[in-house]
């Protein structure tokens, strides 16, 4: 069916006037900055006085130990935190999906509650809980889980553990809600049939539940990846850090790429070109990982 010319004109006039404002704003505050940033990443200089540098910034990446530390930290947080959180969220969702479970609604609401807290607020609360003589160490000592207080704030390893714990606290309930909604759409008679056939519960989980939840697992993996690679609020607020020097955590142990870009732009001698290059490293990582995740999910379709 080819639309009549009059109808097409009608569609275009209305179509463009409906989408126009949003498209104009996206062009100005999204598309233009994205392209400009890419252009900047090939330039060097102070502030806005930039000159073309070719691949100079990319070469600088390979010689910049602070960038490599930030990249390593960011990748570490992603590789360790996302699987822990999503596994935990899926496990809890499966347990909560049981219709015979008592206090289901209450448990669900309580586990979801961390989502209402802003990233800065929960970071600050975690900081106050994980001080050397703070409530967490006192509790761990009282339960004899540790024999001396854990130096969450001054040891690079424990600072990273703290950050990962905190992010997991904030986002597990969020991801759980997606899994719960998907589980509720699964036809329960499939489970009934497999139970009658004597399929053990762990096999039901891996052979039935996980494959049926694949689209949601893919969605949460991609969004969690994007979120973790952009980590900023927590890294800057959770560990007692010397903000005037721009460091993040003991020995920059929680310095992320986003914090480094912020430092390069607004804290040190402003170097927009190099900062833009580092920001495109995040873009490349997001694109790469999203591609890999989609690819892995697709292949299992066969």
């Amino acid at each position: 069916m080819s639309p009549r010319p009059g109808l097409r004109r009608y569609y275009d006039i209305n179509g463009w006037s409906f989408v126009g404002p949003a498209v104009a704003l996206i062009l100005l505050f999204m598309a233009y900055p994205i392209v400009w940033s890419l252009w900047m990443s090939f330039q060097q200089g102070r502030g806005m006085r930039l000159s073309f540098a070719g691949f100079g910034n990319i070469i600088r990446l390979t010689q910049d130990p602070v960038f490599q530390l930030a990249l390593g930290n960011t990748v570490l947080f992603f590789v360790v935190q996302v699987p822990i959180m999503l596994t935990l969220a899926l496990f809890i969702a499966v347990l909560l999906d049981d219709p015979h479970l008592k206090f289901r609604g209450l448990l669900r609401t309580l586990i979801f509650l961390p989502c209402v807290m802003s990233l800065v607020v929960y970071s600050v609360l975690f900081k106050s809980m994980f001080l050397l003589d703070g409530i967490v160490n006192q509790t761990l000592l009282a339960l004899a889980i540790v024999s001396e207080p854990i130096p969450w704030m001054s040891d690079p390893f424990w600072a990273r553990v703290l950050l990962i714990t905190a992010i997991t606290w904030r986002w597990t309930g969020y991801n759980m809600i997606f899994y719960l909604a998907a589980l509720q759409n699964i036809d329960k008679s499939i489970y009934e049939a497999s139970r009658i056939d004597g399929v053990p519960s762990y096999a039901r989980f891996f052979r039935l539940t996980v494959p049926m939840l694949k689209p949601v697992i893919l969605f949460t993996t991609v969004t969690s990846t994007i979120g973790t690679l952009q980590l900023f609020d927590e890294a800057r607020n959770i560990v007692a850090s010397d903000t005037s020097a721009g460091t993040a955590g003991p020995g920059d142990s929680v310095l992320t790429l986003s914090v480094y870009i912020y430092n390069l732009t607004f804290r040190f001698m402003p170097n927009f070109g190099y900062a833009a290059t580092v920001s495109y490293v995040i873009v490349v990582l997001v694109a790469l990982l999203a591609f890999v995740q989609f690819y892995v999910a697709r292949e299992r379709d066969r």
Partner: protein, 271 residues
């Protein structure tokens, strides 16, 4: 029930109970902490104290509480209204008036959802400088108004908008903008409510962009105020706790009165 199944059952309740407790604990810690002095908080005191009024007064004085709260509220409410208006009109437009050109633009729009903010922040800062908007609340709001995610959300929701309603309205001689305003908006109330909750929460909690673009204390948001209180060399945690609660109350309130819409809004993005 057999003993082994009973044990499994008890294990499940213990696990979920413990996880629920850990999820809520920081909230309790915050409320108890408001009543204690910093000296006690850093030693892990978890019993109610008598320093609440002192902490509250200090928070009001040190952080200029009414002003930063008002700044946050203004940015979040105006930003949310503008975002819902612009992005819902666009989502409706993309779905109802399709054309190959607009589909291509829509594809680009979806891609922008994946772009990290770090890429945008330097150019945005320069653009705001050229527009003379540095240190204004408009600069905080403007880049969030056209949200690829919210446009997508409304386009998905529009697919469920009955075309009979549109046809009937056209026969009655309504213009397209009238159909949108008088028929679509009232019909899609629950979609708007769900989007409102999500967009409001994001705007209220925003940190990085306001941190860059707001430079004087009289423009700062409550999130920025809490961050700077807590990053002092010796933070007054009692004061920080009061701030944390004040910053959390609006979102907690929205969550409890609109819990259903909240979950709907989140899930809207995967359908």
């Amino acid at each position: 029930m057999s003993p082994s199944r009973l044990a499994t059952r008890a294990g499940i309740y213990a696990f979920l109970g413990l996880f629920a407790f850990l999820s809520v604990f920081p909230f309790l810690w915050m409320i108890v902490g408001m009543t204690n002095r910093t000296g006690d908080i850093i030693l892990g005191r978890f019993t109610l104290g008598d320093a609440f009024l002192e902490n509250a007064r200090n928070f009001f004085e040190q952080a200029d509480a009414p002003l930063v709260f008002w700044n946050s509220a203004k940015i979040a409410i105006l930003g949310t209204i503008a975002t819902l208006a612009v992005s819902s009109i666009a989502g409706y437009g993309f779905e109802i008036f399709r054309s190959p050109a607009r589909e291509r633009i829509y594809g680009v729009l979806l891609l922008t959802i994946m772009i990290p903010f770090a890429v945008l922040m330097i150019p945005l800062f320069v653009i705001m400088g050229k527009l003379g908007l540095i240190n204004t609340h408009i600069a905080v709001i403007l880049p969030t108004v056209a949200s690829g995610f919210v446009v997508f959300y409304f386009r998905q929701a529009t697919k469920a908008f009955p075309s009979e309603l549109r046809d009937a309205a056209r026969v009655d001689g309504l213009k397209e903008w009238q159909i949108f305003l008088y028929i679509y908006v009232p019909t899609m109330r629950s979609t708007y409510a769900a989007a409102f909750v999500i967009v409001f929460m994001t705007a209220w909690n925003n940190y990085l962009w306001p941190l860059i673009v707001l430079q004087t204390n009289d423009k700062k948001t409550i999130t920025l105020a809490i961050s700077s209180l807590a990053s002092a060399y010796y933070p007054d945690y009692g004061v920080v706790m009061v701030g944390a609660l004040v910053a959390t109350l609006p979102t907690l309130f929205v969550f409890f009165i609109m819990q259903r819409q909240f979950v709907q809004g989140m899930l809207g993005s995967v359908k």
